[in-house]
């Protein structure tokens, strides 16, 4: 029998900067451990400084002045628990307590500013912020066959929570391309997963507004300066000259004129510095766009996940073009009708099989001796999923073979009137 390997306790100790989940009874809160930073949880203020260096899972009680003290004996119920579950300090837990997130709690969260550091347990966040219930998310990840080593396209407006879940299932292998509308991708939710830095190298982004150009082959990825002109040598000369000037005012006694000169030169230097920084940023942005475009160009992505407030139909039809044949796609929508449109469009156009429109029901149970019964039924509110598999695109003529089969199956049903 294989014996257990000694756990390296060093990696299980709390450090500054870690994201931890505080637990008291069955209320949870995710916070970041910061030096001398006041944390509020369950209507109490305290500092997490004394938790640093302790093992995850240690129980503390709150002492005078808000400092944490180790709690000696095991005590269920009222004691404050600092707990880690999973290697990335994030705890997915079904506590079924989504109703506990009251309006006041949500207002408090908003006041604190949602930056990914002040999320309640992932379950509750899904319920409130994105209407995406965790059982629906579970289906998305599995139906999408999300796994290490694949190339996945994600389009979501769930504050990065879907993105983070996808990245977690990829384990840092393969690549994820986040398509985004507007200015830039939102990733606050993803940040709270606390991924190691090499995971971020697998993450790319691509703006929706450049999709058509990419598909048409007209996407411009050449190097340009801030004015949109091709880069030239002249800007480098200017910065050289101003540096010389700035070294001039060295003398101890400075006249008014010299002070003016110093200020002017300083302004010039700052302007140059800003222009330089902007250039570096633009080059970085260009490189990122080019690398994402390179991944998309082959039109051989392994999967597509859509979970957004945008109408799913055009998003789906547009992004499916980047997916290889015989690969799964999953579209989440809070409402059913837009997915019915997607279904219809895909049937007309072809290129997809095994289309299924589903939603899931979730029921919790209280299990106690002589007191076992269902507790909570979550249905409908979890949103809907449309899933399918891509196939090589085919012509209208050959598609009719399978289409007529579907109608035969449907006519067998009793009280239905379907169109010919």
């Amino acid at each position: 029998m294989a014996e257990s390997v000694n756990d390296s306790d060093a990696e299980s100790r709390i450090s500054f900067g870690d994201y931890v989940v505080l637990k008291r009874g069955d209320v949870f809160k995710s916070v970041q451990v910061e030096n001398k930073k006041k944390v509020i949880f369950e209507k109490q203020w305290f500092f997490l400084d004394n938790a640093v260096g302790q093992l995850f899972g240690t129980r503390f009680e709150i002492g005078a002045g808000g400092s944490l003290k180790l709690k000696a004996a095991k005590h269920s119920g009222d004691s404050l628990d600092s707990k880690e579950a999973g290697q990335d300090n994030r705890h997915i837990l079904d506590d079924g307590k989504s109703q506990k997130l009251t309006r006041d709690d949500i207002e408090t969260l908003k006041e604190q500013g949602l930056k990914g550091q002040h999320l309640y347990s992932i379950v509750n966040v899904f319920v409130y912020f994105s209407h995406l219930r965790y059982d629906t998310l579970a289906q998305i990840l599995t139906l999408g066959n999300i796994h290490a080593g694949s190339k996945i396209l994600v389009f979501e407006t769930c504050a990065g929570l879907v993105l983070g879940s996808v990245m977690e299932r990829m384990g840092g292998f393969g690549s994820v391309i986040q398509m985004y509308p507007g200015g830039g991708p939102t990733r606050a939710g993803m940040e709270s997963f606390g991924f190691p830095s090499h995971f971020h190298e697998t993450l790319h982004e691509f703006p929706l507004c450049k999709v058509n150009a990419l598909l048409a082959g007209t996407l411009d990825l050449s190097e340009k300066d801030a004015d949109g002109n091709r880069r030239s040598e002249s800007s480098q000369e200017t910065s050289g000259v101003s540096e010389e000037r700035s070294s001039e005012p060295q003398s101890m006694e400075v006249s008014v004129d010299q002070q003016e000169e110093m200020r002017r030169v300083e302004r010039e230097r700052l302007r140059e510095q800003k222009a330089q920084e902007k250039k570096v940023k633009m080059e970085e942005k260009r490189k990122k766009l080019a690398s994402a475009a390179a991944l998309l160009e082959g039109r051989n992505a392994d999967g597509l996940v859509i979970a957004s407030r945008f109408h799913p139909c055009p998003v789906l039809m547009g992004l499916l073009k980047f997916i290889a044949p015989s690969r799964p796609f999953v579209v989440y929508c809070q409402y059913r009708e837009p997915l019915i449109e997607c279904y219809t469009k895909l049937r007309e156009q072809g290129g997809a099989i095994s289309l299924r429109l589903t939603d899931s029901w979730l029921r919790h149970y209280q299990v106690l001796p002589n007191r076992t019964h269902p507790v909570l039924l979550m249905s409908g509110g979890g949103g809907y999923l449309l899933s399918g598999t891509t196939v090589a695109a085919d012509s209208a003529k050959t598609r009719n073979q399978h289409k007529s089969e579907e109608h035969v199956a449907k006519r067998l049903k009793l009280d239905e009137i379907s169109s010919a």
């Binding site: 029998m1 294989a2 257990s4 756990d7 299980s12 995850f56 899972g57 880690e84 579950a85 999973g86 997915i92 837990l93 079904d94 506590d95 079924g96 965790y134 059982d135 579970a138 289906q139 990840l141 599995t142 139906l143 796994h147 290490a148 080593g149 694949s150 977690e168 299932r169 384990g171 292998f173 290889a324 044949p325 015989s326 690969r327 799964p328 059913r336 019915i340 219809t344 095994s354 429109l357 589903t358 899931s360 029901w361 979730l362 029921r363 919790h364 149970y365 299990v367 809907y384 196939v391 090589a392 085919d394 050959t398 073979q401 399978h402 579907e406 199956a409 009137i417 379907s418 169109s419």
Partner: protein
């Protein structure tokens, strides 16, 4: 091809899924010189499959055609040969998420059964994780080993033919998660606990009957597990279809203020050549009966020792 990694071109020895139509699929093993019969005719492996792209259309000897798909655990679940009752994708998806499985996870499972969940686990924990699966039925254990080999995943899994309640999983202190789908899970809790890492981990037990759930929850509590919760999840499939609803005839319109205009207002999608006009609606109806109960899922956390 493997169940944990996509490939583009079909090769000799691959397992592929032939899609013949809605809910009509079958797995086949690609062999040079072999033939497979479908409802549309025969498929010749050497000419029709080997070297073709996954997802392409294959024309069969009678002229009809099918699609050939890359296998996935989800496709395998609906097409695998049943040796036992199996777990379906809906439950599998929730188990995967709630056990926090991901690449690198070490998982213990018993019983292996027909390998439905096993394939899903392997897909999720690859390439750096490992699955220790225990099956007490010798033939099923053997069959499972064979399939894992054919599906190119045997490097990620160890199958043990033993009784998990008596002999455990064959390892201790290295699992991130344990899954039990056996008649008496409460008898395996001690072994499950010792299989899990010192720093803690997750456990899930699947049972069709509530009495089993009660005994399991008691055992979990006795062994110091925390955050015990039981739930069940059901999938509802919506049937997307087009329906034609006839419009009422209120008689010829005489006075515009009094008579019912409603009928003519609706008639944008009129069906021509019918005595009465109709409206075509594209809608989705839930099935008359929801999917049946599969089992209860009980989750718990083993805290740090």
């Amino acid at each position: 091809m493997s169940f944990v990694e996509y490939s583009e071109i079909i090769q000799e020895g691959d397992v592929v899924i032939i899609f013949q139509g809605h809910e009509s699929m079958m797995p086949i093993k690609v062999q040079s010189g072999a033939q497979t019969q479908t409802r549309y005719g025969a498929i010749r492996h050497s000419s029709d499959l080997i070297g073709q792209r996954f997802g392409s259309k294959v024309t069969c000897s009678k002229g009809g055609w099918v699609y050939v798909l890359h296998p996935t655990p989800e496709l395998w679940t609906v097409n695998l040969p049943h040796r036992t009752q199996i777990l379906y994708t809906t439950d599998i998806a929730n188990i995967t998420l709630m056990l926090e499985l991901k690449p690198g996870s070490v998982v213990c499972e018993s019983g292996t059964g027909s390998g439905s969940l096993s394939h899903s686990i392997l897909r999720t924990i690859a390439p750096t994780g490992h699955l220790h699966t225990v099956e007490f039925h010798a033939q099923r254990a053997e069959k499972a080993m064979q399939e894992f080999k054919e599906h190119k995943v045997s490097h990620l899994v160890t199958v043990r033919n033993q009784d998990v309640c008596k002999d455990g999983f064959g390892i201790t202190g290295i699992a991130d998660a344990v899954f039990l789908d056996i008649p008496s899970p409460w008898e395996a809790i001690t072994h499950a606990k010792s299989a899990i890492k010192r720093k803690g981990g997750r456990i899930c037990s699947f049972s069709p009957c509530i009495e089993q759930v009660q005994r399991t929850c008691e055992a979990l509590l006795d062994h110091g597990f925390e955050e015990i919760c039981t739930l069940e999840v059901l999938l509802r499939v919506h049937d997307v279809r087009t329906v034609t609803l006839p419009l009422p005839d209120f008689g010829p319109e005489e006075d515009s203020t009094d008579s019912c205009q409603l009928a003519s207002d609706l008639s944008q999608d009129e069906v021509p050549n019918t005595g009465n006009s109709s409206v075509i609606c594209r809608t989705a109806t839930p099935p008359r009966e929801m999917a049946g109960h599969t089992g209860y899922l009980t989750f718990a956390t083993k805290p740090r020792d």
